[in-house]
Amino acid sequence: MLLEFEHVSKCYPGDVWANRDVSLGVEAGEVFGVLGPNGAGKTTLIAQLLGVARPTSGRIVMDGVDVVRRPDVARQACSYQPQTQVPVAGLTPMQAVTLAGRVRHGRGPDVRRRAHQLLQLLDLGEWERNAVPLSGGVLRLVAFCMAAVEPGRVVVLDEPTNDVDPLRRKLLWQQVRALADRGSAVLLVTHNVLEAERCVDRLAIIDQGRVVATGTPAKLKAELRAPLRLELGLDLEASSPPFPAFVRRPAATRGRVVAEVAVADAGAAAAWAVGLQEEGAIVEFLLAPASLEDVYVRRVGVSLEEDASAAGVG
């Protein structure tokens, strides 16, 4: 493993635990997702890797070096896109990305070439040399370029797709994948579970500071042994059709019904849905296997519901 978190715990004053006994490993050339709800301790975990925060206990080892003791090694090896916006006011995207690459000890001509290439690949050409105030999404893409222009052996991306429009988000995921293909270990923190599913090689789900699940998306979904998900799209004014027995736990909202179907009943469910569509009772339907989001909801949703109900009782 290129990067290993070994039993890392972080406790803030007041007995507030941000991380509890977190153990993870990230290989070179893979995209490793860290998923979890707000306040789960994801960003704190990254801060400890980068030497911004110090673990209460545990080690973070990179290539055999404990970077808790040697934060300079971590800073040399890691390039980072923060969750917050980066300080680029007054700079053109080209200047910002070039400066970041040069400060990371990249060679001038190489950095300029790569900066231009990245900005073009993310469709930011029209802003490349404009120092005008940029939108939040463009700023976030520029921040990504600043981390990717001279990538470290570990590239840390904290919520890289926030505020980014769907088309450029797609381009961004391609570049995230490209970073791993170039040999970097990409540590990706995100809330965007559905999109992460298509990009990450392995992932860990963190809840309340603890790792509650880890593995490949396929493995986690298989472990869930979840039924298929059936979604029906209705006209807004239409009422739900009567459900046959194999459609279980239907939940209707205005214009949409979500239900579960056993894998063995997939054929019957598809035929039933096609019939409804031909009759005009529904507009569209989707019959899909369990997604990473289902895994996430199953792993994290329970604790969130418990917290919510506890707050309601209290």
Binding site: A47, L50, G51, V52, D72, R75, Q76, C78, Y80, P82, T84, Q85, V86, P87, V88, A89, G90, L91, Q95, L99, A100, R102, V103, R104, H105
Partner: protein, 289 residues
Amino acid sequence: MRRAWDSYRLLVQWQFLRLRNVLVLIALIQLALALGIVYGLSLLVPHLDHTSALFLATGAPTLSLLLLGLTVVPQEVSQAKLDGRFEYLSTFPVPRLTSLAADVSFWLVAQIPGTALALLVADLRFGLHLRAGWAVLPVFLLIALSSSAVGYCLAVLLRPQTAQPVTQFVALGILLFSPVNYPLERLPPVVRDVHRVLLWPTWPTWSAGASGHPITCRCRWPSWWWPAGAGPGWRPATGSPSASARSAPLSPGAEWPGRPCGGSGDGPSRRRPGRSASSARRSGEGGRR
């Protein structure tokens, strides 16, 4: 070393590009501040004598630099902590001191026009005919670095909400209780003793006038700020200076009348025997007039 220098250069460039739109405004404010100290403080003393004028004229750039380090730098750091810039920049493979040096360098450059013009105006206003000694530049840097280091440390250690009042308190304390714009003797005895303790161990050496240090040899600047004070770099060229004093590359505070140090511009070895600093000052022979 090469990498540290490259990082420093790039961070200065980053700072310049980020703030270039407000650079003129910053320079104007520094200018107004320096002029305000020269003119504003002189209003407090209606009948300025030559000594007080010298203190004010040479104290103005010193105070400007102190205020730069103790208010502007911590304000920048606090703001950077609030908007995440401080944490972000600390994740780059750059030594912490390089980052501080880049920030201070930028603000120093922004300060130079104001400082220079303030000295010029003071020179014209009080008819001092100041000349720059060789120590101006290192002393200028030392003041800026020492005050900036204090301001930087306070801003890093304290929360942004706390850092601002604390640094303002420290700046005000230095403004009022450091003998930069007035002689040491005017301070309350306790504060004066604190200054002398802070000067230790070089203070006794200065008093004895026996130091061989190129700057300290003829200077007994009465403040722990003096090694970082701009004052020693400036000396008046008016009056009737002795030939030896005029030829000296640097004859700091000791040459100035009214300085609470008794050495003449000719150095300790040329002091008149039996004349203490205070007696020389009382008789008005402590320096040129």
